[in-house]
Symmetry: C2
Subunit: 364 residues, 2 copies
Amino acid sequence: MDSNRYCVIMAGGIGSRLWPLSRKGYPKQFHDILGCGRTLLQQTYDRYSRIVPKENIIVSTNIEYSELVREQLPEIGVEQILHESSFRGTAPSIAYVACHIRQLNKNANIVVAQSDQLILDENLFVDTIGKGLDFVAENNKLVIIGIKPTCPETRYGYIQIDNDISVTDKSSIYKVRTFTEKPAYEFAQIFMKSGEFYWNSGIYIWNVQTVIDTLAKMLPDMMNDLERVFAELPNRDERRRRVYEIYTSFPNVSMDLAVMERADNVFVQVGEFGWADIGTWDSLYSTLPKDADGNLNMRSHAIIYNSHDNVISLPEGKLAVIQDVEGLLIVDSGNVLMVCRKGNEGDIRKFLNDARMKMGEEYI
Amino acid sequence: MDSNRYCVIMAGGIGSRLWPLSRKGYPKQFHDILGCGRTLLQQTYDRYSRIVPKENIIVSTNIEYSELVREQLPEIGVEQILHESSFRGTAPSIAYVACHIRQLNKNANIVVAQSDQLILDENLFVDTIGKGLDFVAENNKLVIIGIKPTCPETRYGYIQIDNDISVTDKSSIYKVRTFTEKPAYEFAQIFMKSGEFYWNSGIYIWNVQTVIDTLAKMLPDMMNDLERVFAELPNRDERRRRVYEIYTSFPNVSMDLAVMERADNVFVQVGEFGWADIGTWDSLYSTLPKDADGNLNMRSHAIIYNSHDNVISLPEGKLAVIQDVEGLLIVDSGNVLMVCRKGNEGDIRKFLNDARMKMGEEYI
């Protein structure tokens, strides 16, 4: 396997949109949400192990979760886990891990993986990501995997491509024209019909120097600080400690907002391997198989009477008895039971914040 | 205190209509359902301790619950607990305990207490039951405490009195004319207006010989068996063992159906102390105080958004987040979560039976 290939698994999120199943102390990536016997993080690791040498897989996570990562991925070494000292956006995470990888290999080609995605055709996925890594080995471009829409989904970000400038017909890589965050349904319909719009998967591919150069342009203060640490501290542990200290001073911004939407060397590579984001209850509901009445039962024991279109998630061994309800999220997890209307994604964060304010940190 | 006074606390029920809070292994009478710091059984004991000498209080329960009774009432001796070997109706329980009490005191006057009732005016209650016990000391009658209806309640049994034959004006004791099980709402309205109908509280008062004589008439086989045990086995422990053995052969019938509705010496004593049965979710809902939106929160932590007329019962320390629901029972207890329509009392038994069939005994 090409030893210049690296993978960064982003596993530092709280997954607050899947609260109360996803908890600050035990976020969604550490759950076996799909019920396949492996957690989302483990599935992600398995998937990228087929593309990248195992010793080149780096997990970027918050210090709070490093023990969970080690438990769930006992096969990776401590040096393959990068800790963040505080919750920031994806841009600082990616900048830190890029500097770290450059230290290991100046010719690294990196795929940045999300740990909360469902991939249907793993072989096609492996093939697609491989082609992307080969492409950035030769091209100083920032590539995002764009997913061909299968429905006018309003929960995803869309990327419009420039049909005229296809970099290579073979692997379908197009220049990006615009980014559009979660659109209204009418727009999503138009986007889908047009054939020019792709879902933003959040999977990035680039070579290490290109991403560092672009970050230096877009977030110069942060990159100066990071570059100084890597230049001044040759000792790995000292570097880690220093980054750990300064991490809280980094801006809380996402890679898309801070870099991808502003850079002029951003391309979309089309992925047709069947993809879904499983970051929210609604995305789980639309992605996972339901019973004849439209109930999504997340492997809970359940006896259901005259009830439609609900999501039911209970701890193992617990029995749900459900009658005469429709369109509810019924989630029993740890010290929280949530019974609320399905389809109001924004409310989950409100619930979580209210639980924090009224009850304390142990409920979030 | 009159040493001829005895009290039998009936504490052998499963409380299946309050499932899944009330469980076969831990029925409602052992829960602090009203949130006053004492369980229903303890409250019942406290209440009758003011009427009957403590050493004359007998708890009649199933063998499965004798340890729970001893834990919750450490002040009573083992000889004050009578075990049943199987779940039968109230008639065999009452027959057994009557024979037991006659052995102790041939002049005993007995009040049979239910352990799942809410009494508002305890002083008036103590006064009323005391008068009833004095009455049966002088009269070979079977007395039921009848509650003056405060609303056209359809969940209770009604007893019609014979207004012409008031035994004594002072303590308002009337001969019974008819029993009517849970009536339709229209009938309940008529009953209430008529002034002749009272709620059947299930609290019975009689002297020991009268109840034994009446039982012998109504259930002769069972009483013959019991009388033989008490005649042939002077040793208390042997008697207990023998009754324990034959108990399963006794009929599964209630005292009301087998005796009270058929005997001609049955009287109603009017109770005006404020009473409610708390045997079902609906009775809890109508009895206990609710918030401004009509939600009954049984001391659970709860954050409630735009929700009306629900019952919420969770384990201690657990948080309920409830949004956009109306008229639901939301009960989280042990290994069962129930989310169902409020007001369909009969369904609870169906749920319980289905849970037993599909999941096993540990869920009921």
